[in-house]
């Protein structure tokens, strides 16, 4: 996947720009994203945290980095593993 490729969610309004990508399937709302708009219904319940415009999303190894250019209800993942916002800190184990 070339940097600069623009991908659309099949489950919501989310659109991302690929900053960096490795091997794997980029998904939103639990369904693969594509350059052309596909329709796969609503985001799956466990992939429906939503995306925020302007945020950069990465995987744990920072192999993938996606920039959200249009927000939506689904959440981003690669091969089923959720991506996190680049500046997000892990939550504390307990309060």
């Amino acid at each position: 996947m070339k940097p600069g490729t623009r991908l659309k969610s099949a489950t919501c309004d989310t659109e991302v720009m690929v900053i960096r990508a490795g091997q794997g399937t980029i998904e939103c709302g639990g369904a693969p994203m594509a350059e052309d708009k596909q329709s796969a219904g609503e985001p799956a319940a466990d992939h429906a945290q939503g995306t925020l415009i302007g945020k950069r999303y990465v995987d744990a190894e920072a192999t993938f980095e996606l920039l959200c250019v249009k927000p939506g209800k689904g959440s981003l993942a690669v091969d089923g593993t959720p991506l996190v916002t680049k500046d997000a800190k892990p939550l504390p184990a307990s309060d």
Partner: protein, 360 residues
């Protein structure tokens, strides 16, 4: 009389004179000194196609020119996406095959501070997005809460301080004003005589304290992109509707309407987006920057004048200042701009001078 060192100084002086008229006895600096403030601190020279501090550069596109500001860490990571390629590519060959408008649109989508030589500002200098309940015109100096960083917002609050206002500066933990480290002398000059409060806006306690500070303020100054405040749970329009007489000043690169709300802008690239470099090109045939991040000091001066003017009426409002639109207005209104640009261009490579230092 000698020509002002930096073009648009006379327009800026008009704004400062209007500010001074509202604060009799205030000792305000001259516009020429404010526009040249950083250049004088660092002995900067009149720039060509690379900005005074080197962060913003012009690049040739297939049909025109873009100015790209790589001001923040992480901006360079976006270049492969900007040029749609896996291979390493230098900026000159990356931009060469692109159209100016296409390169600008693509860069802005990626959140880069970029502008096209030929573009027109997306928003007017000043817009009002909300009107608040009125209160009787106040007869005391304003309490100013400054949430902004870098140059434009802090200059606006510094001028309001010089006009007698009390200024509280919020330092956001985890998102500190980088100017403190990158340019401590300029930072301290802008922060002079202001109180400061450090808040962690990532915590509920920090956000609650911010809400209290807003409730005590007459003028709030911020320069966050609209979505950043919303994501923290603050709605500026709602604050203005709820608090009689509150003047909420939002400083933006390109306004808050439509897609432009998400565009980033800094002092040099927004001066290009406002048409100042296009005018320099029309007058001299040269591609270059005018002033040192000139949209920043122009915006600080204009914003202080607009905020104090509103405060004194007692009419609450949210004022949206767009840096590119403001440069566009100054370019359209300064009657001496043509000759000042010619003089500016002739001094390329020579020190930027404050007016009193220009030999007659």
């Amino acid at each position: 009389m000698s020509a002002p060192a930096i073009p648009l100084t006379r327009w800026a002086q008009g704004q400062l004179d209007a500010l001074a008229a509202m604060a009799p006895g205030a000792a305000l600096p001259e516009a020429g000194a404010l526009l040249a403030e950083r250049a004088m601190l660092h002995g900067l020279t009149v720039p060509g196609d690379v900005s005074c501090r080197g962060g913003c550069r012009f690049h040739r596109t297939r049909d025109g020119w873009v100015a790209l500001n790589l001001a923040r860490p992480g901006d360079r990571e976006l270049l492969p996406a900007l040029f749609h390629t896996d291979a390493p590519v230098d900026l000159a060959s990356g931009f060469a095959p692109l159209d100016e408008a296409e390169a600008v649109a693509r860069g802005r989508l990626l959140g880069m501070a970029i502008a096209g030589l030929c573009e027109r500002p997306a928003s007017p200098a000043l817009a009002t997005s909300a009107q608040g309940p009125n209160r009787p015109a106040p007869h005391r100096p304003p309490r100013v809460l400054d949430l902004s960083a870098l140059w434009a917002g802090p200059l606006a609050s510094r001028l309001l301080r010089l006009c007698g206002g009390e200024v509280v500066r919020v330092e956001s933990r985890g998102r500190e004003d980088r100017l403190r480290d990158t340019d401590p002398r300029h930072f301290h000059r802008l922060a002079e005589d202001k109180r400061s409060v450090a808040l962690d806006l990532r915590t509920a306690a920090g956000r609650a304290r911010l809400a209290q500070l807003i409730a005590q303020a007459d003028i709030v100054i911020e320069a966050a992109r609209p979505r950043a405040l919303r994501q923290l749970g603050f709605d500026a329009d709602a604050c203005v509707h709820a608090q009689p007489g509150l003047v909420w000043l939002t400083i933006t690169g390109h306004g808050i309407a439509g897609e432009a709300a998400n565009w980033v802008g800094f002092g040099d690239d927004t001066s290009v987006a406002g048409g100042l470099s296009a005018r320099l090109h029309a007058e001299t045939g040269e591609i270059g920057f005018v002033g040192d991040a000139i949209a920043d000091p122009l915006t600080g001066i204009f914003a202080a004048r607009a905020a104090l003017e509103h405060y004194r009426t007692g009419h609450g409002a949210r004022l949206i200042v767009a840096m590119s639109g403001l440069v566009g207005e100054a370019v359209a209104r300064d009657p001496h701009l043509s000759q000042d640009l010619t003089a500016w261009n002739a001094r390329r490579g020579h020190p930027v001078l404050a007016p009193e230092a220009v030999p007659c």
